[in-house]
């Protein structure tokens, strides 16, 4: 675990989201330390993605607050939150499929570039310098995810695993302090999963970002996370190191249903 003295990047208090009568996320408290890798797990429909979407500003919370880097994110639009320093990927990859890989990463830099449209029309020296630097930085990021040689390819042409990596590079382009990854290894084969796990750790080490991920692959969660939070029916039911969470009765119950003393339920052990 990271040192106790490390600052808190994300501090969520009492975050709640109701859709009509349904409470998707129910008064969740949550913290991410600087340079920490945290996982959010829970059965389907537990409210993980809803939680993500509230942090990223896609949904307005019904109540509660999100403090990022010491300031509240309440009322901010998603693009403002990105500018504050939260980068994200999406559960079902959302690349700009008609654009090249390079352009995808450059769009990721949007909030870090300053040139106005007028500067672009006149191609002022400041704008040219900024563009050149941005291109160089984008290429570096593509190198990091080993996609630099396809920089001029359309993103839609990439196979699935590469698309996930490109999405990662694009999220990093906004120079985030916190990276939200929504199921980064979903649909990957074991080698790809391993490569992605390595990449996430490398990104944390090299860029010093904190990472919050939603993940279904327990192997990945256990390998990667320094801290795991479990949601069920919108409520936080457990929190702690991977080992602690693994042994938590409530968690096992949430994943496998109420425990009966019937032999067929012993399959439980295998699953966890």
């Amino acid at each position: 675990m990271t040192a106790q003295g490390a600052g808190v990047v994300l501090d969520v208090t009492g975050l709640t989201k109701q859709f009509g009568g349904l409470t998707a996320v129910d008064a969740v408290d949550f913290r991410v330390q600087e340079r920490q890798i945290c996982s959010l797990i829970g059965p389907n429909g537990a409210g993980k993605t809803t939680f993500f979407n509230m942090v990223a500003g896609q949904y307005e919370p019904t109540s509660g607050d999100v403090i990022f880097d010491g300031r509240s994110l309440r009322g901010l639009r998603p693009h403002q939150i990105t500018a504050r320093g939260i980068g994200r990927t999406f559960q079902n990859i959302r690349l700009f499929t008609n654009e090249t890989l390079l352009e995808n990463v450059l769009v990721g830099m949007h909030s870090r570039l300053r040139s106005s449209p007028v500067a672009a029309l006149l191609r002022l020296p400041s704008q040219r310098r900024e563009e050149a630097e941005a291109h160089a930085r984008a290429m570096d990021l593509l190198k990091l995810v080993r996609l630099d040689r396809f920089a001029d390819e359309s993103a839609g042409n990439l196979p699935y695993g590469m698309q996930r990596r490109l999405e990662m590079a694009r999220a990093l382009a906004s120079q985030p302090k916190l990276l939200l990854l929504d199921e980064p290894t979903a649909g990957m084969n074991p080698q790809e999963t391993l490569a992605m796990t390595t990449l996430i750790r490398k990104v944390r080490d090299d860029f010093g970002v904190a990472v919050l991920l939603i993940e279904h692959d327990m192997q990945v969660v256990m390998d990667l996370s320094e801290r795991v939070t479990v949601l069920n029916y919108g409520q936080k039911i457990a929190e702690g190191t991977p080992r602690e969470v693994q042994r938590n009765d409530q968690v096992i119950e949430a994943y496998l249903g109420r425990r009966h003393k019937r032999p067929e339920d012993e399959v439980a052990g295998a699953h966890a």
Binding site: N44, G45, T49, T50, A56, G57, Q58, R77, P78, H79, Q80, T82, A83, R88, F90, Q91, N92, I93, R94, L95, F96, N98, E99, T100, E103, L106, V107, G108, H110, S111, R112, L113, S115, P117, A120, L121, R123, E131, R146, R149, F150, A151, D152, E153, S154, G156, N157, P159, Y160, G161, Q163, R170, A171, A173, S174, E183, A186, G187, Q191, H216
Partner: protein, 402 residues
């Protein structure tokens, strides 16, 4: 996996020499066209000027429709606003003419100043229309722009004291260069007098068109241009990347409209008269046709589509019809001659444009020259179906998108 992948082809080798040659030839013909026209007696110069104006107009619309992905069915409204703004400042029949000459703002009556003002006014109108529509979904946005496109010509018709109503405004201030006033012969250049006819208009139109293309390409390859593409492809992802959808769309509306402002000013000066019926719905749709036919989002595609539609509309439809009539008469069979003399392509232009749109949507929705060809490449070691299948499996496992 990446070891098995071949390196990408260098960009240069994709451009064969033939293409460069054709391009240079095209540029040479365009630059010297008025003289070729004179020498060969093609008599198409007067068709080429409005043609190039329409293509420039399509370039502006392409910003809105092609780059930012916002379907605009009332683009002619901005064209009208540009044309009327320029006429408002420069025409002797304009009510402003009563006060401007003796005011400190007399310089606004200068054509070039008026044209810049028209650009500003049209751009402002674009932003003003854009502002309330940004939250709307695509098809509703299309309807709102259509409504706006219907309102503007009717306002022009009804606000007679200012716009001269259906009669239109006439004459309109002319552009000039040195001592040469465009369209007024003889034209004095450095002390010598020439009879140039409409040739100066050809070159000023060409210059405006070329400048537009130049500027639009710069915009496309800037931070704003990338934001447009991102918004068009996936608005939610774009927001997640820090793109502000509101300002991005507003810029598209404003910049798109401002190009039509310049075009409208030249158009009015060229025709020397403007009236509301020049800016109706069918104008908007024909410009839209040009953008869609050529390939939304690609400047060269739009130019190509514009050339196709405009040359059909202004040159070939008429001549083909004439040829068919002559052919009918030449056969000597009265029945054939009568039948063919009823053939009129110009009367069928709506049908042909409509059919073009329907066929394009069915067969090639990305247009004849799409923005970026999805190159078949050896790089990719997984077919799209496989990738999609894997993705679907992943989503299903995750319980579907929430």
């Amino acid at each position: 996996m990446s070891q098995t992948l071949a390196p990408a082809l260098p960009t240069a080798s994709r451009q064969p020499n033939f293409g460069t040659l054709a391009r240079n030839l095209f540029i040479a013909v365009v630059l010297t066209y008025p003289f070729l026209d004179l020498a060969f007696g093609w008599q198409a110069l007067l068709a080429f000027i409005p043609m190039m104006l329409m293509i420039t107009l399509a370039m502006g619309l392409n910003i809105v429709v092609g780059y930012a992905g916002l379907l605009d069915l009332g683009y002619a409204a901005f064209y009208a606003i540009g044309a009327y703004a320029a006429a408002f400042f420069t025409s002797p029949v304009s009510p402003l003419n009563a006060i401007l000459p003796d005011s400190p703002f007399f310089w606004m009556q200068d054509f070039w100043v008026a044209m810049l003002l028209a650009v500003l006014v049209a751009g402002l109108a674009g932003a003003l229309l854009g502002a309330p529509t940004l939250r709307l979904r695509g098809d509703y946005l299309a309807l709102v722009t259509l409504g706006f496109g219907e309102i503007v010509p009717r306002l022009v018709k009804n606000l007679e004291p200012w716009t001269k109503g259906v009669k239109g405004m006439n004459p309109i201030g002319r552009p000039y260069l040195f001592d040469c006033t465009f369209g007024v012969d003889p034209c004095t250049i450095f002390g010598t007098q020439y009879k140039l006819g409409m040739i100066p208009y050809y070159y000023v139109t060409l210059a405006i068109g070329a400048l537009s293309i130049f500027l639009i390409i710069r915009l496309r390859n800037s931070r704003l241009g990338r934001a447009w593409a991102a918004i068009r492809d996936d608005e939610i992802a774009a927001q997640g990347m820090g793109v502000n959808p509101v300002t991005t769309k507003l810029w598209a509306f404003a910049l798109g409209a401002s190009f039509s402002g310049a075009t409208g000013a030249i158009f009015g000066a060229y025709l020397q008269t403007i009236s509301p019926d020049q800016f109706e719905y069918s104008t908007s749709v024909i410009v839209l046709c040009m953008v869609i036919l050529g390939g939304t989002g690609n400047v060269w595609g739009v130019m190509f589509g514009g050339l196709l539609i405009q040359s059909f509309d202004r040159i070939f439809a008429e001549r083909l019809t004439g040829w068919v009539h002559k052919f009918g008469a030449a056969t000597g069979v009265p029945a054939v001659a009568t039948l063919l003399s009823n053939f009129d392509l110009l009367r069928s232009r709506l049908f042909i444009f409509g059919l073009c749109l329907v066929l394009l949507m069915a067969l090639r929705p990305q247009g004849l020259l799409p923005a970026r060809k999805r190159r078949e490449s050896a790089l990719i070691d997984e077919t799209e179906e496989e990738a999609n299948a894997r993705h679907d499996a992943a989503v299903a496992q995750a319980g579907g998108p929430q």
